[in-house]
Amino acid sequence: MDRKLGVYICSGCGIGESVDTAKLANVATREFKAPVCRVHPFLCSSEGVEAIRQDIAAGAVNTLVIAACSPRMKTEAFSFDHTAVSERVNLREQVAWCHKPQDEDTEMLAEDCLRVGIVKAQKTELPEPLLETISRKLLVVGGGLTGITAALEGAEAGYEVVLVEKEPRLGGFVATLRKRFPTAAPYNELMTDGMARRIEAVSYHPRIQVLTSAKVARIEGQPGLFDVTLRTESGESRVRVGAIVLATGWKPYDATRLGHLGYGLSPDVITNVDLEKMAAQGSIKRPSDGRPVESVLFIQCAGSRDKEHLPYCSTVCCMATLKHATYIREQNSSAQVYIIYKDMRTPGQYERFYATVQAHPLNFLTQGEVTNVEKTAAGKLAVTVKSTLLAETITLEVDLVVLATGMVPNSADGEAIRALEDAERAAAKGESETQRAEAAKKVEELRKHKGTEILNLTYRQGPDLPVLRHGFPDSHFVCFPYETRRTGIYTAGAVRAPMDSRQAAEDALGAALKAIQCIELASQGRAVHPRAGDLSVPSFLLQRCTQCKRCTEECPFGALDEDAKGTPKPNPYRCRRCGICMGACPERIVSFRNYSVDMIASMIKAIEVPEEDEEKFRVLAFVCENDAYPALDIAGMKRRQYDASVRIIPLRCLGSLNIVWIADALSRGIDGVMLIGCKYGDDYQCHFIRGSELAQRRLENVKETLQRLQLESERLQFVQLSINESDTLPTQIDNFVNRVRELGPNPYKGL
């Protein structure tokens, strides 16, 4: 494209009082020969914006540099025709408001900001969007309440759906219930499930294809272009879908591991699932002799909230037990019911149901611990309970003991399966004896994952979604519960987290929405969250690829597969545009049309590095644009002052940092480099999962470069920052600059 640069400098909001905008205009017109450069006292006003529009309309400019406030402000006012490249330079929050006015250093900073912005604009090409024909069909895996709801609601929004269930019938667990506990007003009476109606609706819906006794044999491709092979009794079939909802539900915790609570001792020690089955089939009787039940004891958290079993709370068991107590009561109004719990967990309006059940004089509920269960001579069960309510240990004789067992997700750990495959390969073909032995040990550890595949994705990163602790393929983010590390695949229901039927049905709606949204964004070639709408995609100059596999290994979203040699095979519709692959590549062959190694390197080159005798230091800060950059803005809004030697370069994610930039900067005489990114670790805050952690790890490699250049490692600093810690930023920056000053100037200045 024939570049016609237009530089627009705002002198409002204190910028004009802080820096000499005429000098800034000189940078644009003399150094960069900008054919159009205007200084306006109120650029975001309608007249200011109109002047820019007219320049575009007249064909005078097609590459805009708006030097005014932060790009986080006035987005609407400064959004122009998308045929023009537009770049914002932050002269307000990050220059005028946080540095000494009319000061040489502030002036130099403003000029550098403008240079860097102009170079960035000049290096920006408009993205060419992906244009494949996208399938608008949804695949829903799992035909329980969640899957059925996702299918129905998606179809009602106008989308075709393929619903796959591994059992011969639809409905899952909820269809087997006698009744549901109250999840809607008035919250005090049991509800009929409504599943039969839903199953019928889904079975006859014109836009839904139901496959029962079916499995997913293989999924190839990417969002909008998933090619799914389904296996049923009548053979294999293929279907192309746009997005996938995983709703494979849960299974009850294995009660045979609960011998300490009496399971296996007598047929009269049963699980809550057994009780439900009995209730659904007719009446609740003692399994041992078929006699009616006069007294029942429920043991809550049987296996849940227990480090030896399931450390988490299974969420539904308290309400399920209260329902079961109601079944017993309906059947025999004089039966005695005991409920032994750790904490009764009936959140929100569910408290009403708890109060209703608790109010019955023959229901006795206590916090306590069951220490022993044994058979009595009379054929009953004697349960020893350390009750906190009564502050003593009591023994209760009952007809039936019910263990409220918890939920285990029907999930597969994609990363573990992949690791198992790698280990198996290494165990067989490892180079050395020790390597093979180590791999064999790993195989043993991971063996339980063998054959657990559900989606059978043909992804390099493994055949299923990654999971969080305890096997739930859930989002890590509080704010974004549908964030997924496998773009276009969304989990819903009890496989995602322990939840009840109401939550599962709602979750199905949310997951179906995200699946639809992914399809709609893909159809426009746009990214999904967190860079929703981004049209750019990375391109790979594969002739220069050395098959180092860093990009394929580090992509947090499994977007890159690889061939047998290790050459990456990009799947752009899986891509989230974070640029981690670009940062990973030592050959610098990955670039976006509007974000590249060359672009940032050129921006670094645009920074003026004063000669050593000027005694002016320069520090470069690569900052995460999602958190650290807004934190700097907030510091500016509070007029917090910090050292004006710092030059800020925002990155899409710190994980897109290519270490060549650090070498470039230091070899140009820049005195120090800071990286400011998100907190990492178990509770990481990086929106791209591991970006800041990867950047930190890459720093290890830079240390060699420093040694080669004979520079002190203190010239580099990595800062983990939360977005709300803007108050600490000025001090952290000042401290770093001062430390660099103590080290003295970078000896490479002027070379």
């Binding site: 409002g12 204190g14 975001c44 006003s45 406030c69 402000m73 993205p127 060419e128 969007p129 608008r136 609601e153 998606g154 009602e156 929004a157 106008g158 007003a185 409504g194 450390p311 709370c313 969420t315 904490d343 967990r345 929100g348 408290e351 009403r352 916090q367 906190t388 309510l389 502050a391 969080l468 602790r469 305890h470 739930f472 983010f477 509080v478 704010c479 974004f480 519960p481 549908y482 987290a497 939550q503 709606l509 949310g510 929405l513 995200k514 949204q517 709609e520 964004l521 426009q524 070639g525 969250h529 929703a532 958190d627 807004p630 907190k679 805050q685 929106h687 939360s722 977005i723 709300n724």
Partner: protein, 428 residues
């Protein structure tokens, strides 16, 4: 460059109205707009973000809410399909699913969209008012920016706090952005569906007389503690005793302060257990010697929040005591607090002395001002009957719930709204 467009059924359909710009409403608006719908987001206050914007950290990750809000606000800024109206309330809804007419009441902001955030109006303003963002713990000028991260990034003038006839702000504004003659306006819009996400308010703790809030300065509520812990709060993140600014060394959390109580809120507010556990970590991080006691009826940390509970409970300086607090008294000499509670484990009533008492007050649905048409349950939470189309709810206005659950059901509400848009555009 040609960009294929979204399904025309959504793009050309009527908009969806979302009432409430907290995390739930914001989510519904964004999720619907990113599918391709037109959305009108109406917020009653001058800025989006609702309750979560005022929190220090989320449980269980202990991460700042502004991190996710920043991403959401960027999505919002970059999405031309969302129209944000602040100081806006829905007065009346007429019509049927797919075809509603809604009257909005727009209160004047007195500051136009040309505001540059320069802050000269606040500099010139002499009048002060309690800072609502800080639950009145500090003051702002009558010309003020609701918070540092406020969106829209525009000042607002609280005329009720202005001295008679004062025009200092208008005169100070170099950009002509202030117009003190603005009046209430009404606007009628046509929409396909309405999602109410009007959120919650903390229960008024002064009503729980025996817990001493409002009488004793060192009894605070959990929402106030969030502001004391927040780095952008009135104490810049230092949790100090209101009476004397002392660093608290002994802190009691009173769970179910008003909740699970037929005299106050008969329901459980669902989030207060995890919230207090989280707040205990704030104090422990600031003051390594501080001793904390959490008085509870049941600890309700459902699902994987149990991990969080277990990790905090492992701290030897945090004690969990099963027992309801019966009284909070003040030692008049030093403003210490004497908390009497039954310890169920020992079966005895005990009185203990604390520097600071935090009441875990519950969630009250904010349905005041919602137009007719929404059904309520006995607790005044919105209760949309299953299968009814057109009017939906999301977030804490329909049940007390944690943030991730609110975002989850707000995403689901977007799909229900989308169905209305799709149907209405297919049927003309």
């Amino acid at each position: 460059m040609s960009v294929p467009s979204a399904l025309p059924t959504f793009r050309n359909g009527k908009p969806v109205l979302v009432i409430g710009g907290g995390i739930a409403g914001l989510t519904t608006a964004l999720e619907a707009a990113e599918v391709g719908c037109q959305v009108i987001l109406a917020e009653k206050s001058p800025a989006l973000g609702g309750r979560v914007a005022r929190m220090h950290q989320y449980f269980p990750k202990l991460c700042p809410p502004t991190c996710g809000l920043e991403i959401n606000l960027r999505r919002l800024r970059e999405n031309p399909r969302i129209t944000v109206l602040t100081l806006a309330e829905a007065e009346e809804i007429r019509g049927v699913p797919g075809n509603y007419e809604v009257t909005l009441r727009l209160s004047p902001r007195f500051v136009s969209e040309t505001c540059t955030l320069c802050g000269d109006c606040a500099q010139a303003c002499a009048a002060e008012k309690p800072d609502e963002f800080n639950y009145g713990l500090s003051k702002t000028k009558a010309a003020y920016l609701p918070s540092g991260n406020a969106y829209p990034a525009r000042y607002v003038i609280d005329r009720a706090a202005c001295p008679e006839g004062c025009k200092a702000c208008q005169e100070a504004c170099a950009y002509g952005s202030i117009d003190l003659s603005q009046k209430v306006e009404r606007k009628t819009i046509q929409v396909a569906a309405v999602v109410a996400a009007t959120g919650w308010a903390p229960y008024d703790a002064t009503k729980i007389d025996y817990l001493g809030f409002g009488k004793y300065p060192n009894v605070v509520t959990n929402v106030i503690l969030e502001r004391l812990a927040a780095l952008d709060g009135p104490t810049a993140g230092r949790i100090l005793r209101p009476s004397d600014g002392k660093e608290p060394q002994t802190v009691a959390f009173v769970q179910c302060a008003g909740s699970r109580d037929d005299n106050h809120l008969p329901y459980c507010s669902a989030v207060c257990c995890a919230a207090s556990i989280k707040q205990a970590t704030y104090i422990r991080k600031l003051y390594t010697q501080a001793q904390i006691t959490i008085f509870y009826i049941d600890v309700r940390t459902l699902g994987r929040l149990e991990d969080f509970y277990a990790s905090v409970a492992a701290d030897p300086k945090i004690a969990f005591v099963k027992g309801k607090v019966g009284a909070v008294e003040q030692d008049p000499g030093n403003h210490d607090l004497l908390v009497t509670a039954e310890d169920i484990l020992s079966g005895k009533k005990k009185t203990q002395r604390f520097d600071l008492v935090v009441l875990a007050t519950g969630i009250v649905p904010q349905t005041d001002g919602l137009p007719a048409g929404f059904a309520l349950d006995e607790f005044k939470f919105l209760s949309v009957p299953e299968g009814r189309a057109g009017l939906y709810s999301a977030g804490c206005v329909h049940r007390p719930e944690e943030v991730s659950a609110a975002v989850q059901d707000a995403t689901g509400a977007a799909l229900k709204a989308l169905q209305c848009v799709s149907r209405s555009s297919q049927h003309g």
